[in-house]
Symmetry: D2
């Protein structure tokens, strides 16, 4: 035991939201407060399918979702390339970071085949899994010990953190509207459909799958139209 | 009577929101669901004041507000220069536009004094008010009659609308987060404080004042900190 | 003669640019200054086609173009819905606007057939053209006369301009990067290909066609890949 | 010798640009091609100072700069929070990352004093410097050895990179316009002026200082107005 905590998961919680299929229709029709009344499902389906098919994306921007997400730093590095989102991440300048690290789980495919932009993955042998686990644990242990050494010597947190590996967990608040979220999902969930294949790294896909499940519950008609139009963001 | 409707107002309705002072604190601290509990007011005040003073704007982005707004086109033209917002405006390509026009009211100051960038306004004589009212009504009447003539002749709505004046009313859904809204308010409400004076056109200021009243009710501590820090957006 | 100037055109000038196919490759490869050397065409074609097909849009963002554009206000109203762009428009608050108005030309199809979102247009009879021309001229004349009356009476420019029709010309500087421009073109040039049909209003399409011609000259390989991938923005 | 390369610097190269003080004036005045002629300096100074003082930021958006930057990952993590910018970073999914690591130099102040949001830094003893250097080297060596072990065993690059520390160097292309750049500088260069103090981490400040030097050379009048107005971005 080295006192460090390892996990092969990510955490996604819905913190709050202002999102519904009805809101999409109200926005598309610019309804006043008085005109906002519950839409019949069949009408909503037709309208929302039309909006996605014809790439009228703006009505989806009025539905927002705020998530609490805990994921390794290498996931955040990809996540924050999505600029149509709001972020607040915990700060390694102001706090000592906890020794919690992501390690690939047994079901994480380890071997890359094919070429850049169209990789696929294969299982990996039990030896490869063992080497990975040992390498991660060995490095995390060394890194965190050195981090603590520097802190103990009075070195600033922002300097000491430089040795921490990108697999350390970090938490953030993320707010996206439904349009931005569909764009995120179209790029960060594997999809081999004809027009827009997508080959995300598995760990950000785990975050994206959690988002998609929540999105599907909050906006089932929009989600269905998104799927049926080939996972293309409007 | 010419069958046209004139008004000197704008309409702003809060359609929905996901905004509160507590949410700012939860975001700044990256609180998990379990950690989210009502904050004591005095602590909130200190934190929010610190965030605005030090320009940590991101915690304010997780609070969103959706408005239904009805205003003349010349207001929309200025409003849509604000890109950190989501818009759905009713379409003159798909619908016949109603004959509803903004005319300056009796309390609208008509005479500009001073120089570009720092205009101030004076009342205007009753003659100036009379000329303005007559000019507006005469033009709106002529324009709308010509619009209807073209429609009656089978000309497309998107072509016929070209003759309509920028004072015709149009409606839209507008979603902004609290950070973008503070930026909007800092530029679109008159303010002659030392650092960042602002000289908005009165009609967009009318929209902004409505926004500010709603914002103040939803997020009183944030609004207070915004005011006390000189109406500067973080 | 009424002293007003009518035209059926839009103006688009390339003011400056920092755009080339090579720059896309340098960005995709994160080349240092020393590594930047002219790429062979066949390699560039393969890389750029790959980037567009796989939706790697970011390498196209480092190529920017600045345009001077003169177009009627109803075109600007649509144009400014594109938020990934920078705008500076001449101000009707600070200057007296010139009496220059757009009127639909003889080749502007006037009659809309089909349904919302998938309109097509037909010629229009000579009578319809005549009514349109007369209606435009009559309204513009009345509006501009009233505008001048108010100015003559000392009413502020920002108030007087309210009567001007949306067909009056206005000028602006527009800067877009190649990614944003492809998005603009994908939505604002007619296209009836299978996946993403587009039905823009003719007048904004005239601006877009001008943009596309310039874009094609500056970045021929990128433009070709854009076309061959179905006019989809990456 | 461990075969790794250490450095205490960052690299910033100007790759290309379309930026000048004159362009700001042309944009502010919406000049046609014919009207674009070299402005007299004293006029430019007055106009640009006015624009910054009155927060008319849009004329600065038409001037863009593209940089090649090499910096440790912990700098990129802060840099990419700036969303008004375009990024292309080298990929650890497609390439094996080089063993080049940032270590704090002798002049890097190591000890943090004061409280959150207003930290200042003090030198640090030679012991603290020694501990820091040893801790960095020890961790980087261990991490890179484990990275290579996994690669040698056939583990995918995107998995193996998880052990690399945030102090490893990474390169990217960054394009910003002058308005976004001034915002970046206002937050990422230390400034203790009255209204908007700024306390950036030293390493991102090193990047920002390089940007500022280039910006000052390309747009000296804009830079001067930025400074004289208290380093506030318009």
């Amino acid at each position: 035991m080295d006192g460090l905590k390892y996990s092969s998961d990510v955490t996604v919680q819905l913190v709050k939201h202002s999102a519904s299929d009805e809101d999409v229709a109200f926005a598309a029709r610019v309804s006043t407060l008085g005109e906002r009344s519950l839409e019949k499902t069949e009408k909503l389906e037709g309208l929302i399918n039309f909006l996605i098919r014809e790439r009228h994306g703006s009505p989806f921007e009025h539905s927002t979702m705020t998530f609490y997400v805990k994921a390794p730093i290498f996931v955040w590095r990809e996540h924050m390339r999505h600029r149509m989102a709001s972020y607040n991440e915990e700060s390694g300048r102001y706090r000592v970071l906890e020794p919690e690290f992501y390690v690939p789980g047994k079901d994480r495919k380890l071997v890359q085949v094919g070429k850049a932009g169209a990789y696929t993955f294969e299982e990996g042998t039990s030896e490869q899994h063992a080497i990975t686990l040992v390498s991660y644990r060995r490095t995390c242990k060394e890194a965190y010990a050195n981090y603590m050494d520097m802190l103990a010597a009075g070195v600033a947190r922002e300097v000491a953190r430089g040795v921490l590996p990108v697999t350390i967990y970090s938490s953030a608040y993320v707010t996206m509207n439904a349009r931005a979220l569909m764009n995120f999902l179209s790029l960060r969930v594997s999809f081999e459909g004809s027009h827009f294949p997508s080959y995300p790294q598995r760990e950000i896909e785990m975050v994206a799958e959690n988002y998609e499940q929540i999105f599907k519950e909050l906006m089932p008609i929009t989600h269905k139209a998104f799927i049926e139009n080939g996972r293309v963001s409007p």
